[in-house]
């Protein structure tokens, strides 16, 4: 842990824009995440939240502006390079490796933290065997940590219950030992009880592992309950930012969600 790596933000996006053809999906957004915080991005459908997420994780390159993580410019880095630096994510529409077991999914998540190359894998050297064993132990440990039942560990991921798939996706993301975890609508499709569990889990994750969390979320109960800071996007622009209480009462936010009133 590089605690005390300065008081600067863990992630800092400066004037980030993403333009598809004529559509400005993200418009000059300034955004930063303090270390060990839980922050949320909210906004109506089509506000550019997921596009912004994809820009931070390297799936999209920002059209202009820059993204810094831990002081390094990652604006033009590939997704796998960004993972190696310590950013992991989940997807709004779950994207597990469907034919792999839960454990195997988490093993893929460790790709950036393991080393076995081709030659050593073919020869199955003691080093490779040890790495493989440790990776599997870590996978099992992570699956327990996110609360997956033991019997689900070797189940093919498509056969898992919906909530378990969400849990598995988080375990897979945690497998790369991220400093920053990005969750894209993690409670979508969950019942209130499951959402509450997930809220607790996020706090636990931050408190026990020191993981910083960025959340995109529609469930206002979750957002207001867990976030220390909220950023509101609308039509790609940042229209508000602050603590939950401030954002809730911001007229522009109310307008974005409910429409302009008389």
């Amino acid at each position: 842990m590089e605690a005390g790596a300065g008081n600067g933000p863990l992630l800092d996006a400066v004037q980030v824009s993403k333009i598809f053809g004529g559509l400005v999906a993200v418009d000059s957004v300034d955004f930063s995440i303090p270390e060990r915080s839980i922050v949320s991005i909210i906004g109506p459908n089509g506000a550019g939240k997921t596009t912004f997420f994809n820009t931070l994780t390297g799936l999209y390159r920002p059209t202009s502006g820059r993204v810094f993580f831990g002081g390094d410019d990652i604006s033009r880095a590939r997704p796998d390079q960004i993972v190696a630096k310590g950013v992991a994510r989940t997807f709004q529409n779950i994207r597990l490796f469907g034919t792999m077991s839960a454990v195997e999914n988490v093993l893929v998540g460790q790709h950036a933290r393991t080393k076995a190359g081709v030659i050593r894998s073919i020869l199955r050297t003691p080093g490779v065997r040890r790495e493989e064993r440790e990776a599997r132990e870590k996978a099992v440990e992570l699956l327990r940590y996110v609360g997956l039942k033991e019997r689900a560990f070797h189940e093919i991921s498509t056969n898992l219950a919906y909530g378990d798939q969400r849990r598995l996706e988080i375990a897979r993301a945690l497998a790369s030992d991220p400093k920053l975890l990005l969750l894209d609508e993690p409670t979508a499709g969950m019942n209130p009880q499951e959402s509450a569990q997930l809220t607790d889990f996020m706090r636990k994750l931050r408190d026990e592992r020191g993981t910083t969390i960025l959340l995109i979320e529609h469930d206002m109960k979750v957002v207001m309950g867990v976030s220390e800071r909220i950023t509101v996007l609308d039509h790609g622009e940042k229209i508000a930012e602050g603590e939950p209480q401030e954002v809730r009462n911001n007229p522009r936010v109310v307008e974005a969600y409910l429409g302009k009133q008389g």
Binding site: P79, G98, T99, M100, G109, V118, S121
Partner: protein
């Protein structure tokens, strides 16, 4: 039982689950059968000849299976690596470079050659060179190609396969410091017979068995490589890339590098099989590398079950038998029985195509399907819709 014990147990179960287990027993039985089989046949007969070809085809198919089956990269130009491997042995086990060393030639670990001139290296050395050259060719082809996705890879590799044959064809008009790039249809010939430690020099005029056992050894090595890689970190990354590139790269798998590894390893294996077949054929002729070769090897994998190692072996053995033996035995049936004006050899690809059509109707996942592929077919898992920007 403590939690730690439970954990250890879970992990041990996991380790037991695949690598050897059932495979090991099947492998030993099959290997014993394969090893005693030649004694039932004539040492120079067409049966043994077919078996030698079958070993070469199995190696080719296992190599292509890593590219297409494991990593999901549809390569339609695999013949290019056959050509590279074959020309590697053509260059380094013949009198092709007849003026080197003042006409006295260079000889390393080789003892049987028609003429002193030229470069004559030991077969094992050539195998290493062939694999390196093919892997290098794989990287050269792969670097621009593997940035593409799906069907585009198929089209571009198809073109590279054609380029390879055309270069071989016209290489006799290209000279580099006095030596032709290839001998085109004239063929580089004769090729030295392998000279292996323990056994000594092969002699295909007297006995084909040594070639068969050499081929079988290559098959075993390739099988070990396939199994080890499939259960490794790299193998999992290939499956991840095959299923969902976006998720794979977002989990830290470098896409181009991972695909290049599959392509390079597949190429190296193809190069090894190419060198072996070159030695066995005793000549490197440009018409040995038609586009249809790529398709034949691909058909073997599809017949057996994409991604399935044992399926690939089975598919390769079956099509090798049909292609090299069966069609020859029934060559005149269309003419004699049906009074038609062609032989079965002329319609072999029609027959392969028919076999594949039957397969697609009756058993689309192949004869010995891999669990994952079967799921992908039956449950529609792992289809990859993309939100990706094309990027390296």
């Amino acid at each position: 039982m403590s939690a730690a014990d439970g954990m250890r147990e879970t992990v041990r179960d996991l380790e037991k689950s695949r690598f050897f287990s059932g495979n090991f027993l099947i492998a030993v039985v099959l290997l014993v059968i394969a090893a005693i089989l030649p004694f039932f046949f004539d040492a120079l007969g067409s049966e043994l000849d077919t078996m030698v070809w079958a070993t070469a085809y199995v190696v080719f198919a296992l190599g292509l299976n890593i590219v297409v089956g494991f990593a999901g990269l549809l390569d339609l130009g695999y013949v290019a690596f056959y050509a590279v491997g074959a020309y590697a042995i053509g260059y380094f086990a013949s009198d092709h470079f007849n003026k080197v060393n003042g006409g006295k030639g260079i000889h390393i670990g080789a003892s049987s050659f028609a003429a002193d001139q030229g470069i004559h290296l030991n077969f094992i050395l050539i195998l290493v060179i062939a694999m390196s050259m093919a892997a290098l060719a794989g990287l050269v082809i792969g670097l621009p190609t593997l940035r593409l996705r799906g069907d585009y890879i198929a089209i571009v590799t198809l073109a590279f396969g054609e380029i390879a044959q055309n270069v071989a064809q016209n290489g006799d008009h290209i000279s580099i410091s006095g030596y032709k790039l290839s001998a085109g249809q004239q063929a580089i010939s004769p090729i030295d017979e392998p000279n292996l430690p323990i056994y000594g020099v092969f002699n295909s005029a007297l006995n084909l068995q040594p070639y068969y056992y050499l081929g079988l050894a290559l098959v075993v090595l390739t099988l070990l490589v396939s199994f080890a890689l499939r259960e490794s970190r790299i193998g999992r990354a290939w499956i991840a890339v095959r299923e969902d590139e976006v998720a794979a790269s977002s989990m830290g798998v470098p896409l181009v590098r991972t695909k290049m590894l599959a392509y390079g390893i597949g190429a190296a294996i193809g190069g090894a099989a190419g060198a072996f077949l070159g030695a066995y054929n005793q000549a490197i002729n440009s018409n040995q590398f038609p586009f249809s070769f790529s398709i034949l090897v691909l058909a073997m994998i599809i017949l057996g079950g994409l991604g399935s190692i044992w399926g690939t072996v089975l598919g390769a053995v079956i099509l090798a038998f049909v292609d090299r033996y069966l069609l020859d035995k029934v060559r005149d049936v269309p003419h004699d029985v049906f009074n038609l004006d062609f032989s079965t050899a002329e319609i072999n690809f029609g027959i392969f195509g028919f076999i594949l059509v039957l397969l697609m109707v009756a058993r689309p996942e192949g004869l010995l399907p891999e669990r994952r592929r079967k799921m992908e077919l039956t449950e529609g898992v792992g289809t990859d819709e993309s939100l990706f920007e094309a990027r390296a």
